[in-house]
């Protein structure tokens, strides 16, 4: 335990700032893709918001996790078919809407929850295409991103599904409120720049 703690502390002490969406020195391809959702604040916020939302819908949770995985695969197929687009605004909108729905605490219609989750997966992947020319490296990075995104989404969904106590549900609503407020502020910035 002591050695593990010291090793973890030493690793953290050695770590530097994380410049996401730019080339990370020495980290590209699959490992770079794996790190991508963790390093881009909007992506991490989207995965947290949608994951918490999916976990809250207890009867649909497993279906939503499966749908998220399928949408990630579909998005990779779309990118392979040369479909491209700037989805940064869509990601922020999804954070804002998802966060507001979490804050409200109302149960979601299955169709709306499915639409949010699927759209979120596709938007995230389209915004994660690396700026490299090699098809192999692009697909490798996208594979890493898809795995990482799925793992994070599932983790938040599982965490949320177990949050059944009143204070835990209030905490989830507060987190949703914070996510929505942050996304709304940044969306407003887009109108003036």
């Amino acid at each position: 335990m002591r050695r593990t703690a010291l090793a973890a502390a030493a690793l953290l002490a050695a770590s530097g700032p994380a410049p996401a969406h730019t080339v990370i020195d020495g980290v590209g391809g699959f490992p770079g893709g794996l790190l991508h959702p963790l390093l881009v604040p909007a992506h991490a916020l989207l995965l947290m918001t949608l994951g918490l939302l999916a976990g809250r819908e207890s009867t649909q949770c497993r279906m939503l996790v499966l749908l998220f995985a399928l949408a990630l695969v579909a998005a990779v197929a779309l990118i392979a078919a040369a479909v491209a687009g700037n989805t940064q605004a869509a990601i922020l909108w999804l954070c804002a809407v998802g966060g507001a729905l979490l804050a409200l605490g109302w149960p979601l219609p299955a169709v709306l929850a499915a639409a949010l989750v699927a759209t979120g997966a596709v938007a995230l992947m389209l915004d994660s295409v690396p700026a490299v020319l090699s098809v192999q490296e692009t697909l490798s990075a996208l594979g890493g991103t898809a795995i990482s995104a799925f793992a994070l989404f599932t983790l938040f969904a599982a965490f949320s599904a177990r949050a059944t106590r009143p204070w835990q549900q209030i905490g989830r609503r507060i987190v949703g409120s914070w996510a929505a407020a942050s996304a709304i502020l940044v969306l407003a910035l887009r109108f003036v720049t």
Partner: protein
């Protein structure tokens, strides 16, 4: 104990998160997190919201920290879009006076009245901070830091307000409310 040591080491070793672009302290999570903490008028008003929640009881104590950030974001949008709001600084100073008095008097108005009052002040606070939001690719990290810091100030107030369930604690909370109201008067005096 070991966990505490590990957490302390992690915090000491943490580097600033400069994701997307490297605008440094002003553009990232740290800048956003520290921004509301360095404005005393903002700090005392946010703590007062939490303290008041202790007297208002459930469901207000739970609703305030959920609704406040959303209303504050609305004010922030007005500030970002450059839509003028008269007397922003005056409104912020008054918020400290009024919210402090509510705590000092242990006032328990109807939930709708309390929500309206807090919501109104949230717009002033949001407007002031929205106008100062830095433009940049990592504006989201800044906004997250700013919103989370504000939320934690509420939670700090709620935590301190928890003492109000005991007679001595109730006195301490009301005294804190009086101090906040007095601080608000000082802020007002500087503006006039």
């Amino acid at each position: 104990m070991r966990l505490a040591v590990l957490i302390a080491l992690m915090l000491a070793a943490a580097a600033p998160a400069a994701a997307h672009t490297g605008h440094g302290l002003a553009g990232g999570f740290t800048g956003g997190f520290l921004h509301p903490l360095f404005g005393l008028d903002h700090v005392v008003a946010m703590v007062a919201v939490g303290l008041w929640g202790a007297f208002l009881g459930a469901p207000a104590i739970f609703i305030l920290p959920i609704v406040f950030p959303l209303v504050m974001a609305f004010g922030g949008v007005l500030g970002i879009l450059g839509i003028p709001l008269p007397g922003v600084e005056f409104g912020i100073a008054v918020s400290a006076v009024v919210l402090g008095l509510m705590v000092a008097l242990a006032a328990r108005p109807h939930l709708a009245v309390a929500a309206l009052l807090v919501g109104l002040f949230a717009i002033f606070h949001g407007h002031a901070h929205g106008a100062e939001l830095p433009d940049g690719a990592d504006a989201l990290a800044y906004s997250l830091g700013f919103v989370i810091a504000t939320g934690l100030l509420h939670l700090a107030g709620i935590g301190f307000g928890w003492l109000a369930q005991w007679p001595q604690g109730r006195m301490a909370v009301r005294a804190a409310g009086s101090a906040i109201a007095l601080a608000g008067l000082v802020f007002l005096g500087r503006l006039i």
